[in-house]
């Protein structure tokens, strides 16, 4: 077990090293000078040179890479060029928006898709099923930014129930902050629910044809006990896998909906930082996301090994 762990850990470190090199190189060759973007097009060459030196941009490729990794290794935070604050704090404050947003969106998606999927499976090819499937088709075809704008027009501009966007901050206004996340989370959730509904339905249909379900019915169990007690648990396994993937996507990529609702989330931070060439921020976030994905896979690997002893032997 220890050897297995060590082997996995070494791969993990190597992988992250490769990721860091790739991220750094890509951003290094990207045209566009952060100093020029900050100072504007009428700045004198001297001011530009001075700022470049200040930002460490006058150093060689290796020098800059060393600066970056060195600071990370000793746990020091980089400074955002655009926002003039430590990247670490910046990312944390953005996660406080994007994290709850992603969770809330998943909550909506699950609350809509699981009951609908079960309903559709139990009424296969009947009118209810066809209606549900038609709606999921519509959901799949709807771009989320458009749904977002429609929701704003109805609930913010017409009914005035919600703010049209923005985020007051958990510290100053917790209830307002929660409300600010509801519409965007719903827009994100509905679209994802379409996929999950179809998945739940097909997975449920498959399980309902299994022998043990027939046995349960033959025993004379009530239909609801058969469906919810026996079939549902097994039917949810593929659904959970996809949900995990979706959650990961939501954390990294709610860029569009964050722009529509001008939420200060992680996705918009990456987006604006690339535009502003705020390289320390972009590099750190990409590395953070890569680390998250790699670590999750690492944990999953460990979990497999725990569940299935045969894996250790390989």
């Amino acid at each position: 077990m220890l050897r297995y762990l060590a082997k996995k850990l070494i791969t993990l470190v190597l992988l992250l090293f490769l990721v860091s090199i790739t991220v750094f190189s890509v951003l290094f060759v990207l045209p566009g000078d952060p100093a020029q973007i900050i100072l504007g097009i009428n700045a004198t060459p001297e001011s530009l040179a001075s700022l470049r030196a200040d930002l460490g941009l006058d150093k060689s490729f290796l020098g800059q890479y060393g600066d970056w990794i060195g600071k990370l290794l000793v746990g020091q935070s980089h400074q955002s060029i655009h926002y003039k604050m430590p990247v670490f704090e910046l990312v944390l404050s953005r996660l406080a928006v994007t994290g709850p947003l992603a969770l809330l969106a998943m909550l909506f998606a699950v609350a809509i898709s699981i009951p609908l999927g079960i309903y559709a499976a139990r009424h296969q090819n009947q009118r209810g099923d066809v209606t549900v499937m038609a709606f999921t088709q519509l959901g799949l075809a709807t771009p989320e930014f458009w749904l977002g704008i429609l929701l704003i027009l109805l609930f913010s501009v017409q009914l005035n129930w919600f703010a049209a966007g923005g985020f007051p901050g958990w510290g100053t206004d917790p209830w307002g902050s929660f409300k600010a996340l509801l519409l965007p989370a719903f827009a994100l959730g509905v679209i994802r629910a379409s996929i999950l509904t179809r998945l739940t339905r097909s997975s449920m249909l498959e399980v309902l044809r299994e022998d043990y379900v027939r046995t349960a019915r033959a025993k004379g169990l009530r239909e609801s006990t058969v469906v919810y007690g026996h079939a549902l648990r097994n039917a949810l396994i593929p659904v959970l896998t996809i949900m995990g993937l979706q959650l990961g996507q939501l954390l990294a990529g709610a860029i569009i909906i964050e722009n529509v609702y001008f939420l200060p989330g992680l996705g918009r931070l990456v987006f604006t930082s690339i535009g502003m060439r705020d390289l320390p921020v972009v590099r750190d976030i990409v590395l953070l996301m890569a680390t998250a994905v790699v670590s999750v896979n690492f944990i999953v690997d460990l979990a497999y090994a725990y569940v299935d002893p045969r894996i250790k032997l390989k």
Binding site: G32, I38, L39, N42, V157, G166, F262
Partner: protein, 498 residues
Amino acid sequence: MKRALVIGFMILVIAPLTWAAGETPKKGGSLIVCVGDEPPGLDPTASASAAIDRVVYSNIFEGLVKTDRNGKFVPGLAAKWDVSADGKVYTFQLRKGVTFHNGETFNAQVAKWNLERGAAEGTKNAHPEFFRAIEKIETPDEFTLKLTLKDVNSLFIVQMAEGDSVMLPMKGFENTAAQPIGTGPFKFLEWKRGDSVEMARNEKYWNPQLPYLDKVTYRFIKDPSAQVAALKAGDVDILGWILAPEIAMGISRDKKFKVLSGASTSEVIMSTNNKVKPFDNKLVRQAIAHAIDRKTVNELVVLGYGTPIGSHWSPITPFYVDLTKKFPYDPKKAKELLAKAGYPNGFEATIKLPAIYPYANKAGEVIADMLGQVGIKLKIEIVEWGFWLDRIFKQKDFQLSMIGHAEAWDIGIYANPNYYFQYDSQEFRDAYNQALKATTETEQAKGFARCQEIIATDAVNGYLFASPSLSAMKTELMNWWKDYPTIALDCTEVWWNK
């Protein structure tokens, strides 16, 4: 299109009347201003970024001189100033009783330190040349500042009114980019990254009558449809910058809001690389000038809200000369000139448009069509902003591009042959130097008129229109600036009539 003009005209006429009906301003209330771009830090002395000035200029920070809503240079931290007869010595009488938001006193020593800081070796100021023009700084007493310039500089007062020249406190200046401390009518409260900058009334402002508002928040919303939704839902009170013309029309129909349509200092030009073929040929550039129908460009790109220009000078900047008649729209003449230049069948060229500016993309398409009609086939390439700065602005790797030059009084860029459009003319440099050395207003007017004329005749760039300043706000909001003669959204005299 006509209707847009009529509505625009009505707004222009009616808006000032409603102010003139003038109740006395009321104190109190808070204001949320929507702007498109979040500034890269809040220190105007460390960046020429327009987004910074739009939040802090005249709100948090002030310089010796201010630009007012009419483009006039009025006393800021200097109560008055005199210029010696030879135009070299400026004596500023500073305001007494001015304190920074952290309690530090403003006096001649502080002003001297600020000017020296801008000129220092390794300064972060984007315009050190403003301060290096000063040969000697004297402080005869606590509130008198005597500056001796190396040479006569007719733009000195203009430069002292820029955001680059605002005054910072000697002790509390270190963290200006994140925690700005100035002398302005509003003091900085908080910068919520990615969302807003908040500021509150400075109770100790040197003018006890001002400001009227208790609190001002600048909120950053880039997407135009999100901006409108925010205004209509009441999340923001005004769309200050930048309002898309299409949106202005829609909002002006809603009785709850009013739209102000004025002029700005941003000249939208089709920048032309004067060093590459075939644009190094003056005849080709003049042919293009004849092939552009400026009136139509203005109508198609900004729905007629802008003002056609014939040179690199905005109509609201003093000493403006209307040169739009110099090359009237005349496709036949354009073709003749092209033939004379050796291109009887036209040629192909590439125009690179910066993606972040919608007006530039639209103008690019319109121009491509107009030039196509005289035989110049344009290939349109849309590029990202960082790419534009690197390839076009820095490496000059382009034939044509499209951009708004936001700064007022920036005709001096034509005196620099290394500037990205690479215009190299001794005649212009002489004229510009002469204009800078002018000591009387008449001479200055003559000098700068000459500068405008030379680059118009040389058709250095395709001069299209001065961008409109469009803002949309709740009808109860009073005294917002109609024109933007400088890069600022100044809330000092804005008040709520409710």
